[in-house]
């Protein structure tokens, strides 16, 4: 048994998941409320702590202290299982995201899998079970409708989500997220090929299919994380609160946290695939090879760069939420099946043709 590996993995899990991602969840809830408030000319939570930053702590305490009420008409086992099933897969997907280059000679990724994006999609699609179970176990009308909607929505967008990253995989010829990031650090980010080998006609032409897949990927990510303009599972105006209508206290908080954690992981994946993950622009502070020693300071800067990009992407998520109205159900289905599925497929063919043409 290699104790060194185990301890390193445990430390990375604790630091990355519990000390970075979960506080980021809390902060993004706060950011969501403050940004939406500013967009609507309001103030938002600004009383608890400096700038209201501790609002999430107060909310958490409130959720913990509230009565954990289970309605009499629900199916208890599934009702209790559902919130956990929403929260856990969101956090599990953290495992393959490279959130930094190296610190103390350790790769800053919890599990350096060679099937990174596949793992993320496999686990992330499990969140739908939590929502479906919640809707069904609640044994009442609106949660049920929310659960059903969620199933069809997530299944529709799963396909275009998976297909949209195939062009990237074809271009990089790799499924290891760490190596994809390193490639982008050296040869220009997928969407900004402005240095290294990317700064060439080939790089610019290949940016076209990458841009298409970025749009498909981001939009499918919105649908996959149930964010507006695709938050049909819980649209308040039609379904009260959708699948979590019957939930209260900490169980509701778990749904809430799961949604935001999924959003953060989605942002992390988008940043990793399209914006060069932890790398700085123009190849600054890039190690010579994937396994080369990285100085401690550079490692820290890489982690900060990753989180800065993720936070920027989360802010984009938030602004989009408060800008666009909700899609109608048939529009959502049409967009998923008629447009994105075809666009993603055509994009794969386009990338293949371009790669063949460019050699």
């Amino acid at each position: 048994m290699d104790w060194h590996l185990l301890i390193a993995a445990a430390v990375k899990i604790v630091v990355f998941v519990f000390l970075m991602t979960l506080p980021l969840v809390a902060m993004s809830v706060w950011a969501e409320r403050r940004v939406s408030a500013a967009i609507q000319d309001r103030v938002g939570p600004n009383r608890v702590g400096p700038f209201g930053l501790l609002q999430a702590v107060a909310d958490g305490i409130k959720f913990l202290l509230k009565e954990d009420f289970t309605p009499a008409h629900v199916r208890k086992t599934y009702y209790w299982l559902a919130p956990a099933l929403t929260m856990v897969p969101s956090l599990l997907t953290c495992a393959v995201l490279p959130f930094g280059s190296q610190l103390f000679g350790e790769k800053m990724v919890i599990a350096d899998l060679d099937v990174g994006p596949l793992f993320v999609f496999a686990i992330a699609s499990l969140t739908v079970y939590g929502i479906v179970l919640a809707g069904w176990a609640s044994n009442s009308k609106y949660p049920f409708l929310g659960g059903v909607r969620s199933t069809s929505q997530m299944i529709s967008y799963e396909i275009s989500l998976g297909l949209s990253i195939i062009p990237l995989v074809m271009i990089y010829g790799d499924l290891n997220l760490g190596r994809i990031v390193f490639d982008q650090a050296q040869n220009g980010w997928a969407l900004l090929p402005l240095w290294g080998e990317g700064l060439s006609l080939k790089g610019f032409i290949l940016a076209i299919p990458i841009f298409i897949s970025f749009i498909v990927f981001t939009t499918s990510m919105f649908a996959e994380t149930n964010r507006l303009p695709f938050d049909l599972p819980e649209c308040e105006t039609e379904l009260v609160a959708g699948y979590h209508t019957e939930y209260s206290s900490m169980k509701f908080a778990l749904f809430f946290l799961g949604e935001y954690a999924a959003m953060i992981i989605g942002s992390g994946l988008a940043v990793t695939l399209f914006f060069g993950g932890w790398s700085l622009p123009f190849g600054w502070l890039t190690p010579a090879s994937p396994d080369a020693e990285v100085p401690f300071l550079h490692g820290c800067i890489h982690i900060l760069a990753f989180f800065a990009k993720v936070i920027g992407f989360i802010l984009f998520f938030i602004v989009v939420r408060w800008t666009l109205p909700r899609f109608r159900y048939d529009q959502l289905m049409r967009l998923g099946w008629v447009f994105f599925f075809e666009i993603a497929l055509a994009n794969v063919v386009l990338t293949a043709l371009l790669l063949w043409w460019l050699g």
Binding site: V35, A38, I39, Q40, D41, V43, V319, V320, T323, L324
Partner: protein, 176 residues
């Protein structure tokens, strides 16, 4: 009568949805940065900032009793305000002014004067009906208390809020 609204025929770039997203973001981000950079201010942070300086002269806040410039109470306990008060918020217990008092001719004064601020509707009828100009609606509006008893303003509290008001008062007029 039914009105048929023609759906607008969208151009292809409008159908793309992305230009709509961008123009929408321009609106929301415009508001966002205007608020963030404090170019625009809508909210007043209430307990810290108040509108008090801008209250109009006719503002109807808490009713209160006033004393005249010599510190004498104006109220003669005629109970008109008590009778006119629509929610019956005012309770007055009058007493007789003893004969040896200099102002025995005034005859009555309030022994107790209570206004229940839970009942008060700030209508201002008490102020209108008062023949002695002894009760006025002041500009206090944040009347709070932790119990029902605390919300009943007694005579002492009413004079505290009311303060001094100068001007003609009938009962101190020796000729009347």
């Amino acid at each position: 009568m039914a009105i048929i609204v023609q759906r607008p025929k969208l151009k292809w770039w409008e159908n793309l949805y992305l230009p709509g997203l961008i123009s929408g973001m321009r609106v929301t981000l415009g508001h966002f940065f205007a608020i963030l950079l404090r170019k625009k201010k809508v909210t007043m942070q209430y307990p810290e900032e108040k509108w008090d300086a801008h209250l109009p002269d006719h503002y109807r806040g808490a009713p209160a009793l006033v004393t005249d410039d010599q510190g004498r109470e104006r109220c003669v306990a005629c109970q008109l305000c008590e009778f006119i008060c629509p929610p019956r918020a005012i309770t007055i217990k009058p007493e007789e002014i003893p004969a040896e008092d200099k102002w025995a001719k005034v005859e009555k004064r309030p022994r107790a004067f209570e206004i229940d601020m839970i009942r008060c509707i700030y209508c201002g009828l008490c102020e209108e009906v008062c023949p002695e100009q002894a009760i006025f609606l002041r500009k206090d509006y944040a009347i709070t208390g932790t119990s029902r008893a605390e919300m009943v303003h007694d005579k002492k509290r009413l004079y505290e809020i009311g303060g001094v008001r100068t001007g003609l008062v009938n009962k101190w007029n020796e000729l009347k």
